[in-house]
Symmetry: C2
Subunit: 322 residues, 2 copies
């Protein structure tokens, strides 16, 4: 539809129209978290994210405990993307009138438990009852780890390597009693180790799909990114998904979204250190999947070299959350 609402259009319009912000806003909108500086000089990072029934989970198929877990963990994935330390969260819930009081109490209990389990205690909230589906909005407050500046999307430099953590694709597939998009563990601790040892120059969490998310790094850093299809670490679920879809596993790894892994860029000297560690950090596999080059006007922000050596525009390979 000519005039229908697409989130990416809208976010783009919002960020591009961003007015001059006061100097206490030290990281403006457009990153995984915003940052403000308190009067005394301490810095606080904040992210907000929504989990909508029918969009991000199907109520009748999903235990309340996993809905609550995902509401907390997908925000913590933003905290990981900045290599920050979560401190606490608040949750706003809009609940349908038809939801029972018992279920509402259970959902609230699961939210509190999930938040505590990930060292991000819930310390405030708001409840609205209405006649529409469940909408959970979680805001997380974080701070920089001692001595570590938050890693933004804007620091990638030509000549650097693009790496991802873990494996990608098929996150909504259930296999071996595990469904990644509901049960993943956010990479908060891994991000701290990466930031301490390997100094990533830019980082983002993979929620929209690698093509699109690498595009955010490329756009914010003013660079181009080239990915190699045959380097992408495809998950078992990506292989399973590919049997049903007829698409290749790397297509799933590139575009499925909701991986909640990290994508980051590092200078080559840091990548040599990673190679010496067998590309393993905190027992998690790190995979170099491409490289950063100078911005070339007219060239797509993210290109992908296919296994048969074709170059395609990968900037829009991702999950449009609509």
């Amino acid at each position: 539809m000519a005039n229908s609402l697409k989130e990416f259009d809208l976010l783009h319009a919002i960020y591009s129209a961003n007015p001059a912000l006061p100097t206490n806003i030290t990281i403006p909108p457009g990153d995984d978290m915003g940052e403000l500086t308190l009067t005394g000089g301490s810095r606080v990072l904040v992210t907000v994210d929504q989990l909508a029934e029918g969009r991000h989970f199907v109520l009748k198929n999903t235990p309340l405990s996993l809905i609550a877990r995902k509401a907390i963990t997908r925000n913590l994935s933003d905290v990981a993307a900045m290599a920050a330390k979560p401190l606490g969260c608040v949750c706003a819930a809009a609940l349908p009138r038809s939801f029972s009081l018992d279920n509402a109490k259970k959902l609230s209990q699961h939210l509190r438990e999930a938040a505590l389990a990930f060292d991000c205690p819930m310390f405030g909230g708001d409840v609205t009852v209405w006649d529409y589906p469940i909408l959970l909005s979680v805001t997380i407050i974080a701070e920089p780890w001692l001595g570590i500046r938050p890693i933004q999307r804007s620091g990638a430099q030509p000549g650097e390597l693009v790496c991802v953590t873990g494996t990608l694709g098929g996150s909504i597939i259930s296999h071996n009693n595990y469904t990644h998009h509901l049960e993943f563990t956010p990479r908060v601790s891994l991000a701290k180790t990466l930031a301490t040892r390997y100094k990533p120059t830019s980082m983002i969490d993979l929620s929209d799909g690698l093509g699109r998310d690498a595009g955010h790094i490329a756009d914010q850093s003013g660079v181009n990114i080239t990915l190699y299809a045959n380097k992408l670490p495809c998950s078992t679920a990506a292989h399973i998904a590919s049997q049903a879809s007829g698409k290749t596993p790397w297509m799933h790894a590139l575009s499925d979204g909701e991986d909640y892994e990290l994508c980051f860029t590092i200078p080559f000297d840091q990548s040599e250190k990673l190679a010496k560690e067998n590309w393993t950090v905190d027992d998690v596999r790190i995979t170099p999947v491409g490289f950063v080059s100078q911005r070339f006007p007219g060239k797509p922000p993210v290109q992908l070299i296919t296994p048969d050596a074709k170059t395609i525009d990968a900037s829009n390979f991702g999950w449009e959350h609509i």
Copy 2:
């Protein structure tokens, strides 16, 4: 309905089931804002509130600028209630697919402008598009003003006076081109002056109605509160509302809600200082409306003495947001 969802039941269940929170949570859920302490010792206050289409505003009757304004100001009223200093905010918006991109941009622009106008710049957000009404969830980050501890609901002591700022009642009535619930100015600056000069022992903002909100102070402080109907400062709108409703103006002042004024308790020596200032602070009228007494088991938390000297239970006089 036996099992339907009521917000107050639910919030009560949530607060009473609150598990032991880590020590960095220095004000737990149950106040107008929660507070956490950063590693370096600085304190941060956070509140989240939702504005739902059909519940808190009617889309076709309300300019987008006033919807945006209210989403920001009703949260700032919570900041005022703690006598804290707003620093910035983030907003999560769920928008109907039928909403035009143009309207979405306008709403976002109005949100940013309202936030900036009240010294609380928006520095992050999330947008979801779905097939249901507009839901705006705003989270505000604040800090204590230098030398002022946040004022909680729990500090009221027997023998103290109960006061309110401004006038109460009829906040949804439009008259003289003014509709209070959409156009009020949150009492952030007045709260700072009150806290500096008169040391309120407890404070809350009046969103649910004086009866109910005074009940929150009574419950959290473990005291009883007695209000006098003929002391309540009834607004012009309360008088107008009373002509249509057949209720007395003081009934409107007691129970209409959405006044976004402050209700606070002070020791008598402070009230003498207020009397010397003609009960006026920063050009705003302060009205003593009752007193605090010891908790008496079985007695309603808030009682009101009517003009004909009857005593009634006022604890549940307020607006159930359903």
